[in-house]
């Protein structure tokens, strides 16, 4: 459905100098700052897939999405969406895609929501039959009946986001781009949006690309993730795989009776492991070990602790995707 090959985007802006003197200097200098926002990325996404696209702020997520939607023209390489080069055939491409930018509405600010929908019906040339069916479905999954006659600018953020999502889906797009669709939303609305995306994908086999900073969105919705950092795709695969690859860390928390008895133990010396393989954190009445499961056996830790004090409770945790991603952002792959 989506094919991206060696796609790059470079932004060129005049160099700025600090201060008032700098502003004057900037007037006369011809120096340019080049910023490679996206650096030769390549990937493929199949029909009906839901892909999480993550990266820290300024990593190049939005820029690559904007190229795939046709807003920006790549400086190098190309992409096709459903066989169409989006930035060369914008209007043709626009009929196939739906876009929601969490930070910016696509709706007409001064119009009631109902009018917005009827305008979009004309813009996308949706037949009466399809329109009715689609509206019924979207109303059911997104529930906008209570505010359909309100002006867009009076909607709350949660309402507006549901409205934006509905507007992006009215013409039953083949590909849906969601750029931070749950930003700033409360848990109830977040959940509603996620359910809606799931149902739309199931019902219409819509391909979904989702960028977010909320990794629970991705864990709930996507099987595949792509991680972009400094303009390069540094990971592209399933979530299960990344957990396998980077998820060798385990977290073990022991609730102990007398924490002070452990104070003179140096676990790094005992297990002959450095800070990279083992981290220990003591709290009021518990001690947490964050360790590499291949280098250290759980039973060793427990028995060492139990030599000193009684253990009241044991908690074992798999690595969270959040932790993995934090690691990758920090250190790269």
């Amino acid at each position: 459905m989506i094919h991206v090959e060696n796609m790059s985007k470079e932004f060129i802006s005049p160099k700025k100098y600090p201060g008032f003197k700098g502003a004057i200097k900037g007037l006369f200098s011809n120096e340019k700052v080049r910023k490679l926002a996206v650096d030769r990325i390549s990937f493929d996404i199949d029909k009906g897939e839901m892909v999480g696209y993550i990266g820290s702020n300024g990593a190049g997520k939005s820029t690559s999405i904007k190229m795939m939607t046709g807003i920006l023209t790549p400086t190098d390489g190309f992409c096709t969406v459903n066989g169409i080069v989006p930035y060369e055939h914008r209007q043709e491409n626009a009929a196939n895609i739906g876009v929601v930018f969490g930070q910016r509405t696509q709706l007409w600010w001064d119009l009631p929501l109902s009018e917005t929908f009827s305008i979009l019906k004309e813009v996308y040339n949706v037949s009466d039959v399809d329109y009715k069916e689609r509206m019924d479905f979207l109303q059911e999954v997104l529930g906008f009946d209570s505010f359909i006659h309100s002006t867009v600018r009076t909607l709350s953020l949660g309402q507006r986001m549901r409205a934006d999502l509905a507007a992006a889906l009215l013409h039953n797009p083949k590909v849906l781009y969601l750029d931070e669709p749950t930003i700033g939303l409360d848990l109830v609305v977040k959940d509603r949006i996620r359910q809606a995306i799931k149902e739309i994908n199931a019902q219409y086999e819509t391909t979904v690309i989702l960028t977010t900073h909320d990794l629970s969105d991705i864990e709930e919705l996507c099987e595949k993730i792509m991680i972009i950092d400094e303009g390069k795709i540094i990971y592209n695969g399933t979530i299960a795989q990344i957990k396998d690859l980077y998820g060798k860390r385990r977290m073990l928390t022991l609730d102990v009776k007398e924490i002070q008895t452990l104070s003179d133990l140096n676990f790094h010396n005992i297990f002959q492991l450095g800070e990279d393989k083992l981290q220990v954190k003591k709290e009021q009445s518990s001690i947490t070990f964050n360790f590499d499961k291949d280098s250290l056996n759980i039973s060793h830790i427990i028995s060492k602790v139990m030599e000193k004090t009684a253990v009241r409770d044991i908690k074992m945790q798999d690595t969270q995707i959040t932790e993995i991603v934090k690691e990758i952002y920090k250190h790269g792959i």
Binding site: I71, Q91, R104, Y124
Partner: protein, 263 residues
């Protein structure tokens, strides 16, 4: 094409609805515009109290030129006022994104987003003054003149649109082109008076650089004298055509360098 006409009706219908909802706003805007134009005429009449004619033009003829100039300006102002937003907001704030995400022409969406009802003030003044000129026989109504009048005001409006679009499109490169657009647009104020009263550089500017002289003075002078049809209205049509092609090409080129804005 039929689809666009239909869509245009849909957008215009929305505009009418919101107009009805904000009557007061509309009336204030209209009255404001009407008065600012009327003051121009009053000023002109005061000047003519002192002098019998200006560079060979009588007061009545000047009133016609002044009134005639308002009509293409008003038509353009009414239909395409939203082009200003391209120069001052849409590019620098990345709001132009939404026009690129819908399956219709971005320029069409740009002008459909807002109509400017204030422009009716210009149109009313324009038609009143032209009516006065017909009444006192400064100009005469013939079938030919009416046809030429329609052609001239429409192509004149197109020249306005093209000049606005050209300078607004510079925003794609320089992000904010409101200052340069303002200067270019305001040179049209010169065109309300006979071009022959100006110094050479301004005449050159209005004729060859920013061709507002062809929007108002040249066609109006044809209706007053009946002479030089080809070099007045004929030239106007040709210039409108060229200016539009040039402006639209720059706009299209601008779309490919559009950089949006970060979130």
């Amino acid at each position: 094409m039929r689809r666009y006409l239909h869509l245009y009706r849909v957008f215009a219908g929305q505009f009418m609805k919101s107009l009805i909802q904000s009557k007061v706003d509309f009336l204030i805007g209209l009255i404001g515009f009407f008065f600012s134009q009327m003051f121009g005429i009053i000023f002109l009449s005061l000047v003519f109290k002192q002098i019998p004619n200006l560079n060979g033009w009588t007061f009545e003829q000047l009133v016609f030129i002044y009134g005639f100039a308002q009509i293409p300006r008003g038509i353009d102002h009414f239909l395409t006022d939203n082009i200003w937003m391209l120069a001052m907001r849409y590019v620098i704030r990345g709001e132009f994104d939404r026009f690129l995400l819908r399956p219709i022409n971005p320029f069409f969406q740009l002008i459909c987003d807002r109509f400017q009802a204030d422009a009716l003030g210009e149109l009313i003044v324009g038609f009143v003054l032209v009516g006065v000129s017909v009444g006192n026989h400064t100009v005469t109504i013939t079938v030919g003149n009416v046809v030429l009048f329609v052609i001239s005001v429409l192509t004149g409006a197109l020249i306005y649109t093209a000049i606005k679009l050209l300078f607004a499109s510079l925003a794609f490169w320089i992000k904010d082109s409101i200052a340069i657009l303002q200067v270019a647009y305001e040179t049209s104020d010169f065109a309300k008076y006979p071009i022959s009263i100006y110094a050479k550089p301004i005449r050159f500017l209005l004729t060859y650089m920013i061709p507002f002289a062809f929007v108002a003075f040249f066609p109006a002078s044809y209706f007053l004298t009946g002479k030089n049809l080809l070099t007045t209205i004929g030239a106007e049509v040709l210039i409108a055509f060229i200016a539009w092609l040039l402006a639209y090409a720059v706009f299209r080129k601008g779309l490919t360098v559009y950089e949006s804005a970060g979130n």
